[in-house]
Amino acid sequence: MISPSVLLLLGWMLVPLCMTLYFSTLRYNLIVPSDNPFVGWENYYWFVTDPSFKAAMFNTLLLVGGVLCITVVGGILFALLLDQPMWGQGLIRIMVISPFFVMPTVSGLVWKNMFMNPVNGIFGHVAQALNLAPVEFFSQIPLLSIILIVSWQWLPFATLILLTALQSLDRDQLEAAEMDGAKSLSRFIYIMIPHLARAITVVILIQTIFLLSIFAEILVTTNGGPGVATTNLTYLIYVSSLLQFDVGMGSAGGVIAIILANIVAIFLMRLIGKNLDA
């Protein structure tokens, strides 16, 4: 029996989805009033063959991949660090977690104006103090800058999940490995990493789904530029539908993004399915 809540959820999801699918087959531009004729695949064709589409896909991939690498590696290191007994542990843990509670727009602006600004930013000051030319983050390394900002936001999440996993590791296993002659690096590789494998896949899965739709950080820092250097798929959809007022084209982009996200989700579910069952 389908319970009412499932029906509600289905409606919640299906209505916007169907509307998007419907709009994506219309020629529907807000600044060219017409009777919005049905055009079939035309919107998709133009969206995909647009040169910025290829750039956006590539940027999306780099953004997701880069942030995942930094947060997983950094998260493991932070988790190991925070797992050590130390003074003020509780406070330090809260501080490490706190970036996660900062809104994306705010953190984007803080990074843009207070850290990465070549004149006023801390990095600029440091560079000047060292007699180096300040880096102009958003024009010289725009995508890397975005990756850094987003990584800063997601590092706490990865750290939190991995720390919890690390704390559930049976101390006896580490001691047994120590008795068995495993040095700390071997214990890390043979005992800790396999124990963390499941948590790492969970981090990757959840983050990928959120990272595919990064938007606010780009909007407030680079506006997708210079050129299309920091335009990802989400931002490209925004450009089509809200800057060019092309509802049809934007919807087509949206449908492509949905398909992409689902491919990633299915792929990752498969990949970790074995892991989660065990």
Binding site: E175, A176, E178, M179, D180, A182, K183
Partner: protein, 334 residues
């Protein structure tokens, strides 16, 4: 190989002293059991020997070498944990081979030694399984396998059988004893179960509050317990303690007599009492007897088919050769 000496070893956690300074000598090839109630510091003592805890004072010597500051891996000891501590993501084969891999032993020899160990422990059919797919007894054997492949100087067991059910425990007890006969390596075995201690040990070390109460063979502890604690801890059912007038008659603060050293007689017994509840074990029957003038009931052993009922009046005679006398401090008077 496998001589262990503790000299003045002590351990504090913060300002709590868990082990006051103690000395202990363990000879090569001995099966030594540390026994005592929970929380008395048995595991801590074992971990000090293993090197998993640092001593707060004193020295640990293995084969006359001071290993006090050596890490666990350098002491050539193998430990079997109560929780088994198997590596869950590795097959049984890889679990057993892990110490060999860490010692950088060539793969062929690793395989050879793993298969040998598996044969001894009846694990050959399970080598490719994960620990999660094994029963408790099999996991226990894998943990033992992981310990024996390294050919250590001594084995340390920390309550290895306490997670097994009763029947399996008896079986594993025999297997470990057999393993000791076969390998002839020093074994130190921690348990809170005096039956395990009595049945397996060459030498028993009785601990209370981190202090060694007595060291001796099982029979020495049974025959001449050096104080009331050991007397009450060793032997099952436990020794009867009698205080008051009866003790004073024997020039002691307290006297002890085991249930098996009290005889039920037809008439003219030293003590007269009324039979309380009884436990029939088939081979033996243990009665609770309320003796006139004694504060506590006595436990008395009689033959399996003795015909005594609740409420019967009986005569008892203690075997005076096996009467233990203790002074005010609980020490044995000989």
């Amino acid at each position: 190989m496998g001589q262990i000496h503790l000299k003045n070893v002590s351990k504090d956690f913060g300002n709590v002293t868990v082990i006051p300074p103690l000395d202990l000598d363990i000879e090569n090839g001995e099966f030594v059991v540390f026994v005592g109630p929970s929380g008395c510091g048995k595991s801590t003592l074992l971990r000090l020997i293993a090197g998993l805890e640092d001593v707060s004072g004193g020295q640990v010597l293995i084969d006359s070498n001071d290993v006090t500051s050596l890490p666990p891996a350098k002491r050539r000891l193998a430990m079997v944990f109560q929780s088994y501590a198997l590596y869950p993501h590795m097959s049984v084969r890889k679990n057993i081979a892990f110490p060999l891999k860490m010692a950088k032993i060539p793969p062929d020899e690793q395989n050879q030694r793993v298969e040998d160990a598996a044969r001894i422990l009846n694990l050959t059919d399970y080598l490719e399984r994960r620990p999660g797919q094994l029963s408790g007894g099999q996991r226990q054997r894998v943990a033992i396998g992981r310990a024996i492949v390294r050919e250590p100087g001594a084995f340390l067991f920390d309550e290895p059988l306490s997670n097994l059910d009763a029947a399996l425990r008896v079986g594993m007890r025999l297997e470990i004893a057999e393993l000791h006969q076969r390998l002839n390596t020093t074994m130190i075995y921690v348990t809170h179960d005096q039956v395990e201690a009595m049945t397996m040990a060459d030498k028993i070390v009785v601990l209370q509050n981190g202090m060694i109460e007595q060291v001796g063979t099982p029979l020495e502890l049974y025959r001449t317990p050096s104080n009331r604690f050991v007397a009450g801890f060793i032997g099952s059912p436990r020794m009867n303690f009698i205080i008051g007038e009866e003790a004073t008659r024997h020039n002691a603060e307290c006297i002890g007599i085991r249930p098996e050293h009290i005889e039920v007689v037809k008439s003219d017994g030293a003590w007269q009492g009324i039979v309380g509840v009884s436990e029939h074990l088939g081979s033996d029957t243990f009665f609770q007897v309320n003796v006139l003038g004694f504060a506590d009931t006595l436990t008395v052993r009689a033959g399996g088919e003795v015909d005594l009922k609740y409420g019967d009046t009986i005569n008892l005679t203690p075997n005076l050769n096996n009467l233990h006398r203790f002074d005010r401090q609980g020490q044995r008077i000989s």
